[in-house]
Symmetry: C2
């Protein structure tokens, strides 16, 4: 399971304030905590700084990579900000979140993916928006996957985000997301499924419980990457447990190690 | 999701003592608590009383049905005990746990299922024991299903228990159980999947966490019935959450009602 730590996002007040003060120590600590908690990639998103996004994303990349060796997930819809982040990236293979079937976005971001050899998150939407059903999301994603492959991106570098919409607006939304990944993996066995979890529970009480159940359910359905807060011990414990149940943890070794390190919640 | 409350089992010390004293009030209360917590069937198992099982199972059935209208799950490998329980059963459709592909057991229990029109739990094992792989469990179960159907039992009354073995002995065991149900439902769409959860985590730390993840994962894979402690609020909360995520809870109505009744854990 590939874990992308989501916490360095300027939509969070403490991060915004740290960025405004260029408080490198705060950013480094947040990256380090996520790394210790199990993140494989550190997401950086400063989309709230509309006119400074290029400068700030490069600053975040520099600061974090001064501190540690984890690669970064450059998270922006803005091609110029993505390019600035990629230029500053120097440790391992960068991930970009995201490309989509939207014409302008696709055309602007594809050359960057080729140039920098990134892992790339593909959103299942196009110029008409987000389709309601899994079949239409698959059609959009397949077109983008074919385009990426024609331009030299291997399936192993492609991460499909089916786009998680709240079950409070339609109780079909969770299954729709999971089915989208399942259908695409049948055609493209090398690709990955990725998503953020928390949108699924928007508008409902005890959201964390729903997010927990959705994590397990989507992993069982083929989601093999996730964007989350790795410091959420309960969520991470369920992730370890589910990996073991899905036969991805020989001899239950990772689960038992996590338990011995005090990383499994008391139940 | 059909919920079978597992607590009236004389392998539990308090239940054994209550039965020894013929403490009807204790048994009634245990049944009532499980009913209030959401059980649809009350399991009765007094297998530890080897020479008195017939008498005690009938006593348990009488006592519980004096108190409430829920039907019972007569839980025994002993055909005479099952018959005693069925004779005493008078509210709704009884469930019997279990028949299997073992020749003697099959031949002794089949006539009871026919005579009493029961719901029947089918264990995926035969005279050679429990097979290691899903394919062989499917073969055994299919033979029993065919026999039951030829004798007038509809698929809707058949509950397949794939038999849950600990992942500590083989990390394939959870997937094996879920795959057995998935494969059988392809051939027999009307049947149900049922299991107890707790054996999956035997030998590992923080068993409840693993049981929770296995509940969600098996529900996502087609398990639509479960034998559990309905007073385990965390497990039941995840069950409600997963039902909603699997689009089996229109407008999230059951989940929201459970929350308002204080039956969803704080996370």
């Amino acid at each position: 399971m590939l874990i992308v730590g989501e916490k360095i996002n300027t939509s969070r007040k403490t991060v915004r304030e740290a960025v405004e003060k260029r408080d490198a120590a705060f950013i480094k600590k947040l990256a380090q905590l996520q790394s210790t908690a199990g993140a494989h990639y550190i997401d950086i998103n400063c989309g709230t700084f509309i006119n400074q996004e290029e400068e700030i994303i490069a600053w975040l990349a520099e600061v974090i990579q001064d501190e540690m060796d984890l690669p970064l997930c450059i998270d922006s819809p803005n091609p110029r900000a993505i390019e600035a982040g990629l230029r500053a990236h120097r440790k391992g293979q960068p991930m970009v979140n995201s490309i989509s079937g939207e014409t302008a976005r696709y055309n602007a971001i594809l050359p960057l993916i080729i140039e920098y050899g990134c892992k790339i998150v593909v959103l299942c939407m196009d110029d008409s928006g987000i389709p309601e059903d899994a079949g239409s999301r698959v059609t959009i994603a397949a077109k983008v996957i074919e385009g990426l492959k024609e331009n030299g991106t291997s399936e192993n570098n492609i991460y499909i985000d089916p786009l998680i919409q709240p079950i409070s607006t339609s109780t079909e939304n969770a299954l729709c997301a999971v089915q989208t990944i399942g259908m695409l993996k049948e055609s493209y066995p090398g690709i990955h499924g990725i998503c953020g979890l928390s949108n699924i529970s928007y508008g409902l009480p005890e959201r964390k419980l729903l997010n927990q159940a959705f994590l397990v359910m989507s992993m069982a359905g083929g989601m093999d990457s996730v964007i989350l807060d790795p410091e959420d011990t309960h969520l991470m414990s369920l992730l370890f447990a589910t990996e073991t149940l899905l036969n991805r943890d020989p001899w239950c070794g990772t689960y038992i190690k996590a338990y011995r390190e005090g990383r499994i919640v008391k139940t």
